[in-house]
């Protein structure tokens, strides 16, 4: 099994690599289009600012490659947000895989949301063996609203998408690589399904 972790200078790629290692898998950090295209699984991490992350993807031509990928792709945190149409963060045009905009939490709750929140209404095999209302680790100021592609929900003042899925593309707002053994189970499901 070849797993590519897209390395575009944004995001906490090292933690994802180590999480895969703990599962007995090897993830390759790469920005090489050939390597990414020929991998069995692609993980698209991301931490940071939407507009600078999109610029980095564009500079490597990855903005055109990612939407064309045919194998299972998992976007994590900012990676998930970048797969949507548009982000309010820096008014950024994104990859347009999911038909949704990314919004900022309003200030009725503390922003950013930092910590362990529950995930519920779990709909796909990504959550095999994960019970409803399991805790996952989240750290973000922007969110994807509930859409037809929502496959898991969290609540922070409002209900929002904590996971989305469309064809071979999946996005998770929480960090499976930092969410303890349950998070590792999500990664494992992504690899094995």
């Amino acid at each position: 099994m070849k797993i590519a972790i897209i390395d575009y200078g944004a995001g906490n790629t090292q933690s994802v690599k180590y999480a895969l290692k703990r599962l007995g898998c090897k993830g390759v950090l790469t920005s090489d289009k050939e390597v990414i295209s020929s991998s069995d699984r692609v993980i698209f991490p991301g931490v940071g600012h939407a507009s600078s992350a999109m610029k980095k993807l564009e500079s490597k031509g990855l903005d055109l490659l990612i939407p064309e990928l045919k194998q299972p792709v998992l976007g994590i945190c900012l990676g998930m947000q970048l797969m949507c149409n548009f982000s309010e963060e820096g008014n950024t045009n994104c990859l347009k895989i999911f038909d949704s905009n990314v919004k900022r939490f309003d200030n009725s709750f503390k922003v950013p949301q930092i910590g362990w929140n529950t995930v519920f209404d779990l709909k796909t095999s990504l959550f095999n063996s994960i019970i409803e209302n399991e805790y996952m680790y989240l750290i973000h100021s922007y969110y994807v609203p509930l859409i037809t592609d929502t496959v898991a929900t969290s609540n922070y003042g409002i209900n929002y998408s904590t996971a989305i899925n469309k064809n071979n593309f999946t996005g998770v707002q929480f960090h499976p690589e930092k969410s303890g053994s349950k998070g590792e189970l999500v990664l494992k499901n992504f690899i094995n399904n």
């Binding site: 931490v47 600012h49 950013p112 930092i114 690589e177 303890g180 998070g183």
Partner: protein
Amino acid sequence: MLAKRIIPCLDIKDSRTVKGVNFVDLVDAGDPVELARYYSKNGADELVFLDITATKEDRKTLAKLADKISENINIPFTVGGGIKTVEDVDILLRSGADKVSINSYAVKNPDFINELATNFGTQCVVVAIDAKYIDNDWFVYLVGGREKTDIRLFDWAKEVEKRGAGEILFTSMDHDGTKNGFACQALEKLSEIVNIPIIASGGAGKFEHFSEVFKSGNIDAALAASVFHFNEIGLKELKTELKNNNIPIRL
């Protein structure tokens, strides 16, 4: 519902944890990686590593340590101590740290907060504030509490939020080490004037102090060191107790 976080803090000197620890099942209690693994397995929601030597050479050692921690634990962690450049932060985040904590240097160079927020996002910037109550007001202290400033705690808290801090780690020097409970009043006011998460630190001595701090104000996390290191409070027991007190806790 977002859970309240319990955060053990490890002080690091020359790549070793300094304060003693008291776990029979640890082979090497001074090894921060082993201790981190112990805490993550026993229900810690997050860990903070503070490098108290903090010279330039130590930055590289600290990055190596962050990398090793990232390899060995599956929960988030923050690294702090002597961070002065964007490059320091870049290398720590690349090594797997989720957040960095800055303190004295931010007071002397407030623009550094903006710089980090722009480069890495507000979510990974923790501003640690040490303060002491003198003449009816809280004043910010620097260099591990050795140097007093004229800056008022609440003014500084508002400013760091405006500049892009994603979280405040507040230590009351009046409470730190006393084991008499957290500075609940100051924390409550802090949570009223800023709209970013607040970590309470200093004063934890027993179960009740944790439930008190979570019930008194809108506090997001509580940090402690020695009570956990010396096993005076078991993490699992603490979290179960808090949950029984209707505080949202991840078990």
